[in-house]
């Protein structure tokens, strides 16, 4: 061996060289393939200082470098960074993505995606970008997400741009449109691109074209993009407005748009005039100069009028103890020496003109859409009133019985729905049970009321009103005793949640559609029963002439009982419907009783079409008044009632009045 060791043959020498070379190669690869710095890592290392101590102001270059690199894994790194998932290895300062694999947190190479070791407190340090930095990263990421394979990601990117549009998005979005395969997303992208062009496009003509393309579009996003363009502020200069300003309008001081005081205080704010001495200033100046109970040549006790104070202040000013008060003439002179104008913050007048024109066209279509929305609102309110009043139209309209407890029947129906939901947890099923059950309960209550009270008072209508009022307060208090005073929920099934959105302005909730349908159903049911059944025939006969009907073999007692029960039953069903969107309390009925009576009276007693017309008018009117004075539903109700009172003057028998003998019955 020694021999061999001694005599190193050239072959072995080569072997040694090869071995050492292999060792080096092995050593290189063993410390990780990551050690061979990949392109992403190279960029990260280049901006190492920025990454280690990031701030919103400084991270721009590294994000741009990553974004512009076109590397496939660059977005992954950005995402990891944004999610505080980027780590720096302590021993060599290289960056890795943290990822949980097999129960431990591993360092993942930024370029290859290889697992290179476990994260412990000693091996790696987490990068902690602050909120500002993460937002900047997020907007950069949008560029990548726009081209992401998953449509949901692309949609998320569009939403991100919508929330926070930036100039960098313009080019990225434009570039992504051609590759977009989903037609919906494609059109959304195109729309978003035009919106971004309005904001950020440098070329004036392209910008104006983008603005013009939105003529008549009532989307909220369009208005959000256009309104900043036409925002103005009041400026004041001596002489003519400078040409550098995009002047919207020159204002005359003292006009309605620019009151004199406002104009002068604008002058003062701009440093072009001295402030006027107002009452408070006079007062404090006088107080400051009181000497031995007098000031400005007057006794303090005498200064209880403005004139006396002015005189004393003038004296003070003469003595040089206070600044001289400006006269009206001084103010006028200062105002006339300056020009007041509204200027756009947007410098290009072509853009602002286009924006103004498009906005006014938008406002026109907006008005139309709001009108449609109002119509829907009115219709839905009308159907609620109709539903509440239809039972009353039967008991009051057909039978001539004033039932003040009608509201309490509505409440009873709503509470029936609530009780059913206590036992049947499935909301759809419970609704299906509650509707007929509410009808049955209130039908029974109505029949009981008719049998015990109302039948004795058919010839004394005013006393029916009073007696049923007694029933009403007793029922209300009973409900309070049973269910307590707090509101009880009546939950609508899921499929009634949400709203049908037609555009950004017009929408209607499914519950309201359901109530509308229910109202139509009951109208149809009523007509069917009254016109097509034996019962309806007998009801009409008894209504028209009870004695004659009796002599024809109809039992008026029975008919009256059934009619009253039917009217009350419908009130119960209305109660379930109303309970779905209103709070169920013992006072639920009270809120509808007066409106219901007005609906019947305005529409015309004794006629279902009258109730329909009355509900439409009252519902529509109330919404229209609310629209004129949106902040104030109380005022809307007040004016509506006043209108009803006046309306009754001119059509005492309602919109659809019975004529002839029936009217006198």
């Amino acid at each position: 061996m020694s021999d061999g060791a001694f005599m190193i043959s050239p072959r072995w020498r080569w072997f040694g060289v090869a071995c050492s070379a292999l060792f080096f190669v092995l050593a290189f690869t063993a410390t990780g393939a990551a050690q061979s710095i990949g392109p992403v890592q190279a960029i990260l290392q280049e901006h190492r200082a920025v990454l280690e101590k990031s701030s919103r102001k400084t991270v721009g270059p590294v994000i741009d470098a990553l974004g512009d690199s076109g590397l496939e894994r660059a977005p992954l790194v950005l995402e990891a960074w944004q999610a505080r998932n980027l780590y720096q290895r302590t021993e060599d300062g290289l960056f890795f993505i943290g990822e949980e694999r097999g129960g431990t947190n591993r360092l993942i190479d930024v370029d290859s995606g290889d697992d290179v070791g476990e994260i412990t407190r000693d091996t790696a340090k987490q990068l902690r970008p602050n909120g500002g930095v993460r937002r900047v990263i997020g907007s950069a990421l949008v560029r990548f997400q726009l081209n992401a394979p998953d449509p949901a990601d692309r949609e998320a990117a569009l939403q991100a741009i919508d929330r926070n549009p930036e100039e960098v998005h313009l080019a990225a979005l434009g570039a992504s449109i051609d590759a977009e395969s989903d037609p919906t997303l494609r059109s959304r992208k195109q729309r978003m691109l035009r919106l971004l062009e309005i904001r950020f496009e440098k070329d004036e003509a392209a910008r104006v074209a983008a603005i013009e393309s939105f003529r008549g579009d009532i989307g909220v996003d369009v208005r959000a993009a256009l309104n900043p363009l036409v925002a103005t502020r009041l400026e004041v200069v001596a002489g003519e407005p400078p040409v550098t300003r995009n002047v919207a309008r020159v204002l005359a001081p003292g006009s309605a748009e620019l009151p004199r005081d406002v104009a002068y205080s604008a002058l003062v704010d701009a440093g072009l005039a001295t402030a006027r001495i107002d009452r408070e200033a006079i007062k404090s100046a006088l107080v400051a100069n009181i000497v031995d109970g007098s000031v400005g040549g007057a006794l303090v006790a005498e200064l209880d009028t403005d004139a006396a104070r002015d005189a004393a202040y003038a004296q003070l000013a003469n003595d040089g103890l206070a600044p001289r008060a400006l006269s009206e003439a001084d103010v006028d002179q200062a105002l006339s020496a300056h020009t007041f104008f509204l200027s756009y913050s947007e410098r290009s007048s072509a853009v602002t003109e286009a924006a103004e024109a498009v906005l006014s066209s938008i406002n026109l279509s907006l008005g139309a859409a709001q009108g449609a929305d109002l119509l829907l609102d009115g219709l839905s309110l009308a159907s609620i009133y109709f539903l509440a009043a239809i039972g009353l139209a039967i008991t009051f309209g057909v039978m001539g019985v004033i039932n003040m407890a009608h509201g309490e029947f509505i409440m009873m129906g709503a509470y029936t729905g609530y009780v059913v939901q206590l036992f049947v947890p499935d909301y759809t099923l419970s609704l299906i049970i509650a509707l007929p059950l509410a009808f049955a309960v209130t039908f029974g209550a109505g029949v009981a009321l008719e049998r015990t009270v109302i039948r004795w008072l058919y010839h004394r209508p005013l006393e029916t009103l009073l007696a049923t009022f007694g029933v009403s307060i007793a029922l209300q208090q009973l409900a309070k005793n049973i269910f307590g005073t707090q509101a009880r929920p009546l939950t609508a099934p899921d499929w009634l949640d949400g709203a049908m959105v037609i555009n950004d302005v017009v929408s209607i909730s499914y519950i309201r559609i359901a109530i509308f349908v229910l109202a139509l159903l009951f109208l149809a049911l009523f007509l069917l029963i009254m016109k097509r059944t034996r019962l309806g025939l007998e009801v009409r006969a008894v209504t028209q002439n009870p004695k004659m009907a009796a002599s024809m073999g109809i039992n008026p007692d029975r008919i009256n009982m059934l009619t009253f029960g039917f009217g009350s039953g419908i009130a119960g069903v209305a109660g379930v419907a109303i309970g779905l969107f209103a709070q169920v309390t013992s006072e639920l009925g009270q809120q509808y009783i007066v409106q219901s009576f007005m609906t019947v009276v305005v529409g015309g007693v004794g006629n279902i079409w009258g109730a329909l017309a009355g509900a439409t008018m009252i519902g529509g009117l109330q919404k229209a008044i609310e629209w004129l004075n949106p902040s104030n539903t109380l005022a809307a109700q007040t004016y509506m009632i006043l209108f009803v009172i006046l309306f009754i003057q001119f059509r005492p028998r309602g919109m659809i009045a019975l004529t002839g003998r029936a009217a006198e019955a």
């Binding site: 007062k283 006088l286 107080v287 009181i290 303090v300 006790a301 200064l303 209880d304 009028t305 403005d306 104070r309 004033i402 003040m404 009270v453 004795w456 008072l457 010839h459 004394r460 209508p461 005013l462 006393e463 009103l465 009073l466 007696a467 009022f469 007694g470 029933v471 009403s472 307060i473 007793a474 029922l475 209300q476 208090q477 009973l478 309070k480 005793n481 009270q590 007066v594 009576f597 007005m598 009276v601 104030n632 109380l634 005022a635 109700q637 007040t638 009632i641 006043l642 009803v644 009172i645 006046l646 009754i648 003057q649 001119f650 005492p652």
Partner: protein, 420 residues
């Protein structure tokens, strides 16, 4: 009004024809004297001040009940809006009370200012004090006369009167009658209360006017004394109202009005201006209600739009119906009995009734009892509590008079109030 009475020359005072008036006024006088003697302010202190106030308020409620009886029991107009007039009267006097008291407070607080305040400064400070709660400091135009007691007192009469005049003129002119009129009056009071609920109505929205029990300039006088003064004033007003109402309904005017109640068309064919009569009664009762309200709310201390809610006016009808309409003392009895019972039962003083399985608490069950009782009165005793008086009087007359007369009298009972 028997045949015997009408045969005589009508030279006698109506008081002799209507002994109930003298009895009522005497009873009211005795009540007032007893209450004063038992009070804390002037007497032995058996009645607490709050109880004296409750009694005083009850007298005011009796007053509006008389108004209601006139318009409903005698004229047949079931108004469900008379509490609106009551509330308006309260608001009118409340404006002055609040303004004047705030003014004294403001002047006191500004007395130590370095400069004596100008008039404008005082008014501004009052505005901030009163309207700060609704986020404003300017006086609305309706407060233009709030600094003058005389004008506000006139408004107590004028505002409800004018509202009733306009409303009544519109309603009666177009021949709105019966239940339609009731619903319309209810709509009126609902509209008014909704309007007053707004903050920009100028009357402090749902905060209402408060601190009305403190009379301006009388800070030194304890409430026990003030409450007695108001009791006297309320009793006097009630007595005068009763006297006036009794005089009004006992004469020819009263006969026409009752005839309108019984058959409006027939009275019109006889040549009477029915609308004029109805309008007069409606407006007059609104004025009485306004005066009653102006006396009530300084004793209550606070007024807010909830007082004008339609339910209050319906309760008024309930009182009159339970007391017995068509007779003035009936209205007074009904208002006094039902409102005092309500106060007693809902005040939590009434003893609970243990039933073993359930304890009846009157706070919860009084409304139920009232409702059912009301139904029963309507069904079985249309004459109300006042009908009890008839039983007593008729028995006495039966004993005094010859059988023929009383038989004839019984055969033609006084016409029942009935509407169509």
């Amino acid at each position: 009004m028997t045949a015997l009475d009408t045969a005589r020359p009508r030279r006698r005072s109506f008081l002799i024809d209507n002994p109930s008036v003298m009895i009522f006024i005497a009873a009211l006088g005795v009540f007032t004297v007893v209450a004063t003697v038992l009070s804390e302010g002037f007497g032995v202190g058996l009645l607490s001040t709050s109880l004296v106030k409750t009694l005083g308020k009850t007298l005011c409620l009796c007053m509006i009940a008389i108004a209601m009886d006139l318009v409903w029991g005698y004229c047949g107009i079931l108004s469900l809006g008379h509490f609106a007039f009551f509330g308006l009267g309260g608001y009118m006097i409340g404006m002055w009370l609040m303004y004047a008291r705030t003014e004294t407070i403001v002047i006191e607080s500004l007395a130590n200012a370095p400069l004596p305040p100008t008039e404008q400064e005082i008014i501004d400070a009052i505005g901030v004090q009163i309207f700060g709660v609704v986020g404003s400091s300017d006086f609305p135009w309706i407060w233009a006369f709030a600094d003058s007691l005389a004008i506000q007192l006139a408004l107590v009469v004028l505002v409800p009167g004018l509202l009733a005049l306009v409303f009544g003129w519109l309603a009666f002119r177009s021949r709105v009658t019966g239940v339609y009129l009731s619903i319309l009056t209810q709509a009126m009071t609902l509209a008014l209360s909704l309007y007053l609920f707004q903050n920009d109505s100028g009357l402090r929205g749902n905060n209402g006017l408060s601190g009305l029990q403190n009379l301006p300039g009388l800070d030194e006088t304890p409430q026990s004394i003030v409450s007695i003064w108001f009791l006297w004033a309320s009793a006097l007003a009630l007595a005068l109202t009763y006297l006036f109402a009794a005089w009004l309904v006992s004469g020819k005017f009263g006969s026409v009005v009752q005839a309108i109640r019984d058959d409006e068309a027939r009275v019109r064919f006889l040549g009477y201006p029915v609308e004029g009569f109805k309008l007069f009664v409606f407006t007059l009762t609104a004025v009485i209600a306004g005066i009653a309200g102006a006396l009530y709310y300084p004793q209550a201390g606070i007024i807010n739009p909830a007082e004008l809610a339609p339910i209050a006016s319906i309760y008024l009808a309930v009182w009159v119906a339970i007391g017995g309409r068509g007779r003035l003392y009936g209205a007074v009895i009904g208002a006094a009995v039902v409102s005092l019972l309500s106060t007693w039962f809902t005040g939590g003083r009434a003893p609970d009734i243990p039933l073993g399985f359930y304890t009846v608490q009157w706070v919860d069950w009084w409304q139920v009892l009232l409702g059912i009782g009301f139904v029963c009165v309507t069904l079985f005793a249309p004459k109300g509590l006042g009908g009890l008086v008839d039983l007593f009087v008729d028995t006495k007359r039966l004993a005094q008079r010859r059988p023929e007369t009383s038989a004839a009298e019984l055969a033609s009972p006084r016409p029942q109030p009935s509407e169509n």
